[in-house]
Amino acid sequence: MVMTDAAARRRAIVMVALVVLVGGLAMASLGVGPVKLSPATVIDALFGGGSEVQRIIVQQIRLPRMILALAIGGILGLSGAALQGLLRNPLASPSLFGAPQAAAFGAVLVIALGLADVRSFALPAAAIVAAFASVFVLLAIAGRNAGLLILILAGLAISSLAGAATSLTMNLSRNPFAALEIAFWLLGSLEDRSFRHVMLALPFIVVGATILFSQRHAFRALSVGEEAAQSLGVNVGRLRLLVILGVALGVGGAVAVAGAIGFIGLVAPHLMRPLIGYDPGRLLVPSALTGAALLLAADIAVRIIPSTSDIKVGVLTALIGVPFFLYLIVRERRALSGGVA
């Protein structure tokens, strides 16, 4: 009992620390930008004070950006934790499965066909369908007891294909500005988003997050093995479908307004596991908070790093995520080479 109490207390401390961290980063996100505003001015402008220009900058440019970083980082972290829980596989995550890349392809297809304004619901709808298809196909290829290697290879194939399809679609659209548009969709950016984008993405992110979070007990049951979970009343087939749906809604909604931002879903659960423990049900919320903190921090960094043109936030998350991924591969080397046989 003493052990459990200590673990529970540690979890509580970690949660409080994460909430404080995310809150601090969110405030910092409102304070950073090309126009220098003091913290006092920012708070004043946020609550309707200051000049009209200051109000517009804080309320209509920085606030939606902060909300999107929070929500998108959160859903990516949550999706990563949910996929890792479902597959009992530490390398599962939306971006390694090609879900954001596929979602970007869905969105770009709608744009290239001239079907809709980029700020209409057609965009998240197409992105969600494409993300659903990619995760569904991947899990179908990998089968029930997917080895690490099969998942990674199939995910790599899908994300390369979706990335290439995104570029080709923009090239064929005869948009003379295709190069810059492709960069946005493949690398992701939160720059100069507005509340229209928030309205476009947030409903889907919230529904996706609710679906994933509602399955937390199933993940816990699953961690002792599929058969044991079934004996506890978990319908594994239904659970898989619900997780794919939740991930697709969240990732699709996120990508439709911010492009494909990678690796947050991979990194966030791993940062939390040593602190929270290996219970996949308890890992969901801390992973979401960590994802939010990571994306907020990355989005603050792209505004601080001096550069002549804007740095895409996906570049930064990949710079952090890929070395982390390589580290995980080294750690899982034995399991991976076992997968070959």
Partner: protein, 288 residues
Amino acid sequence: MPLSSVKGERIRWDFAVVVLALIVGIARPACAADLPRVASINLCTDQLLMSLADPDQILGLSPYAQNGALSWAAADAKRYRRLSGEAEDVLMLKPDVVVAGRYTKRATRELLKQQGLRVAEFDIAKSIDDVKSQIRRMGDLVKHPDRAAALIARLDAAITRAKQAVARKPYRVLALSRRGWVSGDDSVTNALLSIIGLSNAASSLGVRHGGFAKLETIIALKPDFILVSSSSNVAEDEGRALLLHPALEKLYPPSRRIVIPEDLTVCGGPMLPDALDRLVAELKRVGG
């Protein structure tokens, strides 16, 4: 906004082209035309060529010549061959002169020169004087200097007309394109604004020819008007969506947006008289 900055140059099969060019070079028939035959691989040289050369002098135009949004003479361009913008089809046409932009398609230009073609490079026009000298140069190239002189006279007449409609105050105008590209002091757009007594709000941003500005910077700059290329509120891609950001829409309703279609401002050339007339009409509309 120069197309040069956004169009990537593709990988070419240089070797194959060289071999092909050698074969073509050997088999080249003698052609006796008295006027030079010209191919253009740049949107801006397309416009100059179409307004100064005889139709049978024009062997082909760049891929964007028929693009209604960017090319001023798009309707006229449909009569001519659409080139790929790369070296192969230009080599096959054996033009006397290839006209090109100075900043785009560097590899293509180098390759064409190596094959012994005469390549005339046109800089991005940065002032009215630049535009005039380019018109004169193209007139000499196609051996119709009389037409060049007439076009320059038309431009001068438009400038004189515009100067009579000068703005009541030197309003600060920001010429804003996709993704927040703003035109700087060294641009034809800047020249057009100053002709009708407007000042360029981008001057204080330290962009010479032009550059990207963040939305926050634009809002903080507080120009009196913004000059945009379209009044439509459809965002066909993310680049255009920036111009329809709620922050800009709130501060710049249609009555504070000067609208001049992109095909009138993307190049400096024969479209400038139209651009000036349009600018005067827009200034009147917004009550400046």
